[in-house]
């Protein structure tokens, strides 16, 4: 047997180039490309009265300056609405350059093509735009007020959507206890360390537009560019080699700059590059998380949920390019791991004069979990029973799968939980954090400190469709080339897909080379988001490898004069089971798979026409076969697979400073079968860190005029290592029955329950209600004063 690598902590193949400075991020290429620099709106809501570029145009090194009026053809249309939905009654997307109005600070108004970014910024300073400002609509209160973001969208409502299962009204009317609760989360953002970037080159000889883009989905960039520039798809090649973090933001294509770099490259006889700077990333990419929830929950004496009615408002910013996916995820993921016979949810997605809102890692699940888990804690507090006990009494049991929520998930298909063991997961987490003995530790808190403990559970729909594909090709040199269309931004795809292919095909891991996110290698793909890459592309490359294996065995059977059923592939050799002396290396099978007239190598002689292969009764390529030892495999899931987890945390609060210190952070995580524990744990570490950031450090603070007040890393407090504690992890593996590998997604999991679990622990420590996140020491200080629970 070839040593299996699935499940092993294999070291990453990506790392060598990245630790030696040989990575290839988008901005690394094209040092002489024209630089695209945007003039952005300083107003949140204004009419564009006039634009004067005459002085800027005079500057040496400026190639061209465009305003909306200069945009030809489809470039003048609004950008596409990527995900329409029947409930999205008033979708709005922005123009590439502002047409008459600007609706958030940071919106692109003028495009400058300059010799470099320095000169481009010089020119930007010389562009004179006259605005007529209007009242800005900021925050959910602003959206619900009298002023409008889009004059033709009444009440600022982009979408008003409801779903229900069971009969909530009766359930609540009959419930022995009913609580009404309010929970709010503020804005944050993915904030990858590499901003958005695109580098476009037009090769007029081959008539190809070649685009390197910092994207999670190169096929989206390709089809968007081809469509808007009105050129054939075949002329557009898009690839993402290294991407410096995505976290959801790099799914939302096309950005105005994607189109302008491509168009500029075709029109200015020079490649064109856009490299977003940090301020631009804050004010002109995407945000998430701003949401306000009202929940009404009915339950019995034991704390069993009888009915839940949730009404929430989602601040979608100024535009809705990604439709209403984020609030829809909140709506469908809110029930979590609990039996909820009667559930109704309604949301309104509303416009504000702020940066657009699209999914950021976790994708509106943190809000769902915050709402549900805070609700469970309140039920426990109301009845005076342990928080873990309330959860145990409500869990969907392991024998209840598949469990149909009765709702439609974000992939447009039924939300049906496929597998899991929520009671066991909670038990593991409680034992890790030593839940039962916490009272002792609480009493040992040093003077001036309070300790608290919290727990939170979640279920996460992952690995959704529509599909991904993978291609596997055995080279005559012996290397196995694998490609898949979705892109990588740190998830270790090159390693895990190699592990899968190595095992399926029976070759050493080291012989497998993976390329992701290159439309020249693989044309069809959806993208890397929704914790779907391992599930979809993983199963697709597995299928491709199985097809290659079948083909290799058929070819080898001829060469070895053996029955295909008697053959196996071990360490890259096709051999007769039990008789390894009768063997042929895969590289040689690859030679035989491609009958040749010409030989370019010693090995290839064996496949040339006088080598005596095959029978004269059949053509060299038999009917129904293709040359080459290669195959394409597809995986299209019937629906999403549901991962789950439980987090537990112990905190200590300094009563003088109100700083929250995390003493222990424990995670139990179930993503089905684990391909590579090193990588899964890395994903959890990073996710939890982002969750802690969102709970205790980060927010996006707008003033009443719609200016983002903290658009820098000095004031947007992304944590350093000094703020992130050690994270302890345990796994549970309940394989998914939905896909052959039994895997579920893991990319977003870490971030999802963090705000909920930290709120639970702070509430436990302080004794007053925590209903909002993030929570800064300043907030906690004033909440403690207001609660009257001042330190003794």
């Amino acid at each position: 047997m070839t040593t299996r690598s699935f499940g092993k902590a294999v070291r990453r193949t990506e790392d060598l180039r990245l630790i030696t400075g040989q990575g290839s991020f988008t901005d690394d290429a094209g040092p002489n490309a024209l630089s695209l620099v945007m003039v952005r709106s300083p107003y949140a809501n204004a009419r564009v009265v006039s634009i004067d570029v005459s002085e800027a145009e005079q500057l040496n090194g400026v190639t061209a300056i465009l305003t909306y009026e200069d945009l030809p053809g489809r470039l003048a249309e609004p950008l596409p609405l990527l995900i329409p939905h029947p409930s999205l009654s008033a979708p709005r997307t922005q123009h590439i350059l502002a047409k008459d109005y600007v609706r958030y600070v940071g919106q692109s108004v003028v495009a400058i093509f300059a010799a470099d970014r320095y000169i481009g910024e010089d020119a930007a300073e010389r562009v004179i735009v006259e605005y007529e400002p209007k009242v800005a609509v900021v925050g959910i209160d602003g959206a619900l007020g009298p002023n409008l973001v889009h004059d033709d969208v009444p009440r600022n409502v982009a979408a008003d959507h409801s779903e229900h299962v069971g009969d909530v009204d009766s359930a609540l009317a009959e419930a022995p206890h009913v609580l009404e609760l309010d929970f709010e989360m503020e804005r944050s953002m993915g904030s990858a360390l590499e901003g958005r970037a695109s580098h476009a080159t037009w090769d007029r000889h081959s008539r190809k537009l070649r685009i390197q883009n910092a994207t999670q989905t190169p096929t989206s960039v390709r089809f968007a560019v081809a469509n808007i520039l009105e050129i054939p798809d075949e002329q557009v090649e898009v690839f993402a080699i290294d991407v410096g973090g995505g976290f959801g933001t790099k799914v939302i294509h096309p950005w105005p700059e994607d189109i302008l770099t491509a168009w500029g490259a075709m029109n200015y006889e020079n490649s064109v590059k856009f490299t977003e700077d940090r301020v631009e990333h804050f004010i002109s990419s995407s945000h998430e998380r701003g949401q306000r929830h009202h929940a009404k929950v009915g339950f019995d004496e034991e704390g069993r949920l009888l009915g839940l009615d949730v009404d929430f408002v989602h601040d979608n910013g100024a535009y809705t390019p990604y439709g209403m996916i984020a609030p829809l995820i909140t709506a469908t993921q809110l029930p979590g791991p609990y039996r909820l016979p009667n559930y109704r949810v309604r949301f309104r997605s509303v416009y504000t004069n702020t940066v657009q809102v699209t999914p950021y890692r976790g994708a509106a699940r943190p809000h769902a979990v915050f709402t549900m888990e805070r609700t469970m804690d309140r039920i426990a507090a109301f009845l005076g029973i342990d928080r873990s006990e309330v959860r145990q009494r409500n869990f969907i049991q392991p024998d209840e799968f598949p469990y149909d929520l009765g709702m439609i998930f974000q992939d447009g298909r039924p939300a049906i939980y496929d597998s899991g063991d929520y009671p066991e997961m909670l038990n593991k987490a409680l034992s890790m954090i030593e839940w039962d003995s916490f009272a002792e530790r609480r009493s040992e808190a040093p003077p001036g400190k309070r300790r608290g403990i919290g727990v939170a559970c979640y279920v996460e729909g992952t690995g959704l469709g529509p599909y991904e594909g993978g291609h596997v090709r055995v080279e005559t040199g012996g290397k196995i080339q694998v490609s898949t269309g979705l892109a990588s931004s740190g998830q270790g795809h090159h390693t895990v897909f190699a592990q899968i292919v190595a095992d399926e095909l029976g070759v050493p891991f080291e012989d497998v080379e993976v390329v992701t996110g290159d439309t020249r290698r693989f044309q069809y793909a959806v993208g890397t988001f929704a914790s779907r890459a391992a599930v979809t592309s993983g199963n697709a490359v597995a299928e491709a490898a199985r097809l290659v294996k079948e083909k290799a065995i058929a070819l080898a059977a001829d060469a070895l004069e053996a029955n295909p059923e008697d053959l196996e592939i071990v360490d890259g050799q096709v051999q007769v089971k039990g008789t390894p002396v009768r063997a042929i290396p895969l590289s040689q099978v690859a030679v035989l798979a491609n009958p040749l007239r010409y030989s370019f190598s010693e090995a290839a002689r064996a496949a040339t026409q006088f080598a005596g292969n095959g029978s004269f009764d059949e053509p060299p390529i038999k009917p129904g076969e293709d040359p080459g030892l290669e195959a394409t495999g597809w995986y299209s899931p019937i629906r999403a697979t549901f991962a789950s987890g439980t987090h537990a945390v112990e905190v200590e609060i300094d009563l003088a400073t109100s700083e929250v210190e995390i003493l222990r952070y424990c995670v139990v995580h179930d993503c089905g079968r684990i391909i590579n524990p090193l990588i899964v744990e890395g994903q959890i570490h990073g996710g939890v860190a982002q969750g802690i950031a969102g709970a205790l450090y980060e927010q996006l603070a707008y003033d009443e005029d719609g200016n983002l007040q903290n658009a820098s890393f000095m004031d947007f407090l992304m944590p350093y290592c000094t703020e992130i504690p050690k994270i302890e992890i345990d796994h549970l593996e309940t394989p998914s029955p939905l896909n052959p590998l039994g895997i579920k997604g893991a990319g977003e999991a870490g971030v999802i329950p963090v705000s909920a679990v930290i709120a639970s622990a702070i509430e436990d420590a302080e004794g007053f209600e925590i209903n909002q996140m993030p929570l800064f020491p300043s907030d906690l200080h004033s909440m403690r004063l207001a609660s009257g629970r001042e330190p003794a």
């Binding site: 320095y118 300073e125 407090l717």
Partner: protein
């Protein structure tokens, strides 16, 4: 985020620097650049000329004598932090330096540069204020000494004239019977403090308090000094009551709110930190 164009001048001496400063319009001094260059990258500062003094040997010295530690204008935070004699003769400087940003910024940033920058959140501004130190400046008009109390006029506003360059900062040493302590709270380690307090307590020979004062950072337009002489003279450190200190401090400070903290929280924090830092002067 690229700086606007400027002309670069590498000064060959302090005299050359002051000459250039007087001749060139709106020129700025570049030492470590760790405060200036971010402002230039944001184009919040667009000086047409930069005069680089970072390589001048005469500005690279730390002198320690009986009365003070004198730090030249090209001395980096790291150099000050790692100078043994400073640690033994005026440990407060080392305590403060450990809180200045991160090591990588301290490696280039200069002590005098942060004073010239006059950021009320800067640790060194509070330190020089509590020590009643001074800076020595040079210009074509000659040299002068500016006491710390007169140096800071507002947020990022110093009393330096346009043609003046700080050549050194003078930090008076504490007496044998004096102790100091620096406390601050920042949202992230290495950030500008939400509030900070640096205290000095002078004792008499009977180990009673002769004098006590605290300088605050991040709670006003300039570093603010509060004297506790009236309250604490002749008392023992163990007698310092939390509530009295808290009351004095919170009644005298009027900080601003920002995205990180409310004014009330800042005031509360400053009061708590004053108490803590005073108590730590034992």
């Amino acid at each position: 985020m690229k700086p606007a164009s400027f002309d670069y001048h590498r000064a060959t001496s302090v005299e050359d620097a002051t000459q250039l400063l007087s001749e060139l319009e709106d020129a700025k001094i570049l030492a470590g650049g760790q405060s200036l260059i971010p402002l230039m990258n944001f184009r919040l500062s667009t000086p047409p000329h930069l005069i680089d003094i970072s390589n001048l040997p005469e500005l690279s010295e730390i002198k320690v004598d009986d009365r003070s530690v004198t730090v030249g204008a090209a001395v980096t935070h790291t150099t000050l932090l790692k100078t043994q004699r400073v640690a033994s003769e005026l440990p407060l400087l080392v305590d403060a330096e450990k809180l200045v940003a991160h090591e990588v910024i301290r490696n280039r940033g200069t002590v005098c540069g942060s004073l010239a920058h006059a950021d009320p959140a800067g640790e060194m501004t509070a330190v020089i204020r509590v020590l009643d130190g001074a800076v020595r400046t040079s210009s074509v008009d000659g040299e002068r000494t500016i006491q710390a109390v007169d140096l800071f006029e507002g947020p990022l506003q110093s009393s330096l004239k346009e043609n003046e360059v700080i050549v050194e900062a003078i930090f008076p040493k504490l007496g044998r019977n004096s102790l100091s302590s620096f406390r601050e709270v920042a949202r992230r380690h290495g950030d500008y403090a939400i509030a900070g307090a640096v205290s000095v307590v002078d004792y008499d020979d009977a180990r009673s308090i002769a004098s006590a004062r605290t300088a605050f950072l991040s709670v006003g337009p300039v570093p603010i000094l509060i004297s506790f002489d009236q309250l604490l003279a002749k008392t023992k450190i163990s007698d310092i009551g939390h509530d009295e200190i808290y009351e004095i401090v919170s009644s005298q400070l009027n900080p601003q709110a920002d995205v990180h903290a409310s004014a009330d929280y800042r005031r509360h924090l400053a009061a708590e930190l004053a108490w803590e830092s005073l108590k730590a002067c034992v």
